[in-house]
Symmetry: C2
Subunit: 377 residues, 2 copies
């Protein structure tokens, strides 16, 4: 194997695949990056066995020659070290050559590295993916969907299924749900050209978070292929594979109330900031709990107190309070997470008494729905 490449493009490719590399892997070969050179270009693969990221740097891009392939071949090099070496090379011209003992020579300017590589045939193969359950959406929409749901997964391994986000394709709609059993986030999306039939997968939250970091904020399409064990997110130059979580996701539709006793229409940003302030004292206590009290004249009071430190109160003028008087306590963090996910200015907070789950959504639609279980105080 021997090729020359422009350093800045090699760095771009490494930026993508390095996100899959973990130092805590149990398979030593996965501390490495697989480098394959063909007529087409340079393919880099990184994996922690849960996530696999593959990127292709083409020989020519926009009429500019990026890679000169002298001899095809493949090698695995220690990922962290290779990444740091490439970043620090003195010139933009890099030559990489592998000889028969997997010795890898990296040359740039007057700098010459000789590092020990590993046999690429020992690197795990990518999962086989059939293309039958496939749809696509713009990258920025995909990022939104992840941002609006993934924070609500459980971080506890006691119910592994809840550490993932449930993606369900049904009646031409994609419904994504995450819950840790104290709160729930749901995002509904209608997409064109959804495949026939109903099916669903549970994608590890960590995979979705990593995916978000490598896809851009553009509207370029991302192709999504679901199989029984794996999901693949694919753009023109990056393929992102994730394992799925096995098991049956709980039916969460019954948890979401349909009838409400108190509806509050409020500026979501003002509510967020008041809770953020109240949380300063609340989080010194055990549960970071704030109180939400409806007052006369469409006013809501946010308050919290800590025996040791003191107390805080703040009134917010709402747009409208409909229905019964209400006093409810909940986790400041859950409410702030929910308001961030709903976004926008005006939100509806809908209650069914002070001890039943309540929901938050935009006044315009319920594409993003957030549910929080109150706490007793």
């Amino acid at each position: 194997m021997k090729f020359e490449i422009m350093r800045h493009r090699l760095i771009d490719g490494l930026n993508d695949v390095m996100k899959a590399i973990s130092s805590k892997t149990t398979m030593p070969i996965l501390t490495g990056i697989k480098i394959e050179v063909t007529e087409e270009g340079l393919r880099l693969t990184g994996s922690d066995s849960d996530i696999t990221i593959q990127t292709l740097i083409k020989v020519e891009e926009n009429g500019e020659q990026v890679i000169r392939v002298i001899e095809e071949g493949s090698i695995v090099v220690q990922a962290r070290m290779f990444n740091e070496i490439v970043r620090k090379l003195p010139t933009n011209d890099v030559e990489i050559e592998v000889n028969e003992q997997f010795k890898t020579h990296i040359r740039s300017g007057k700098s010459e590295f000789h590092i020990n590589g590993f046999d690429a045939s020992e690197y795990p193969l990518l999962p086989e993916i059939q293309d039958d359950r496939q749809f696509s959406m713009p990258a920025d929409l995909l990022k939104s969907i992840v941002r609006e749901t993934v924070f609500a997964i459980s971080t506890s391994e006691s119910r592994p299924i809840l550490t993932g986000v449930h993606w369900q394709v049904k009646n031409g709609e994609l419904i994504c749900v995450a819950t840790d059993s104290h709160r729930l986030a749901r995002r509904k999306t209608t997409l064109e050209q959804m495949p026939e039939g109903e099916y669903s997968v549970v994608i590890p939250g960590k995979s979705l978070t990593e995916l978000s970091k490598i896809i851009g904020d553009s509207s370029v399409p991302v192709h999504i292929v679901m199989t029984n064990q794996q999901v693949l997110f694919k753009t023109s130059d990056v393929s992102f594979y994730s394992r799925l979580i096995e098991g049956t996701y709980p039916d969460t539709s019954r948890l979401i109330p349909n009838e409400f006793n108190t509806n509050v229409t409020i500026d979501g940003k003002a509510l967020f900031q008041a809770i953020d302030r109240a949380s300063l004292l609340a989080r010194e206590e055990r549960n970071n709990i704030v109180r939400f009290t409806s007052l006369e004249g469409n006013v809501v009071e946010i308050s919290s107190s800590s025996a040791e430190i003191g107390k805080v109160e703040e009134e917010i003028q709402t747009t409208l309070i409909e229905g019964e008087e209400l006093k409810v306590s909940f986790s400041a963090k859950y409410m702030m997470d929910a308001l961030k996910a709903v976004g926008g200015q005006d939100v509806m907070v809908k209650f069914t008494g002070s001890m039943r789950p309540f929901i938050i959504n935009s006044v315009h639609d319920d594409a993003v729905l957030q549910l929080i279980v109150p706490v007793r105080t």
Copy 2:
């Protein structure tokens, strides 16, 4: 005590004094900030008993009223909490009022905090400072002096005196020296209006690092007052006190060689980058050691190797190599620290054989001198 203040100025003041606050203090009152309001303005004091920072926010600044004093007084409030509350208040107008039980009310917009304060008379008094050993220098020069020396202090508590920087006033010159016994940094500065006589102090490295963070990069004068137990750095609005380290600093002048066998004149930046690259492999081994070898034609080779990972070699064209051939090994980190401190383009590296300490300084002067002890390989 009661006053109103513009929030952004209070935040500026907190930014300064918070740098002295440590959560690891053994005196509970030092987890607090002392707030004193007088006709003159608002004085904030923070301390971890090693460092004390005091800042004064004047009632009026540039013709603008910053503070309205309604009632003079003082209080101590829990520093971290108070700092976070002030940062998150909804408006730029802040009212603070203390009643007889040290209860502190903070009002801004419709937000109202009631926090428990502490008796300001329990806060330690500032050290008394006599003004006899006083001189001054521009803030940016002070920052340079710290940057060029403080990295070379010892981080081990086995010889506490070496965890400080030795500041010596002698013959109208300020000489600052730091050493961990494997390398040494020395900075000489000639200042106008130095006080008569010889005296010296040892300032904790940590204090100097914190000082660097709060003084700006401007040329405003910083007044420096040395006493037996404390040193004070004072600008128009901030006073920074540090304890001194007791004991006698070793005489380091004898360590610095005067005669050399090999003198290398070289581009400091090129040398830095080559060592940075070689260090990638070197630091996988125990000591992060690189080799420096003089070759024919004014060329130097930087190299290192790791049995497990591989090796790296790089040639650098120097300006001139005078004297004997040389092969020497040293810590990549020490050399990179030294080159950063010397700065500039062209540096001299002067050796007395491969096992004796060697020095690095600018080709223009030796105001900044760096010394490194080589290692056997």
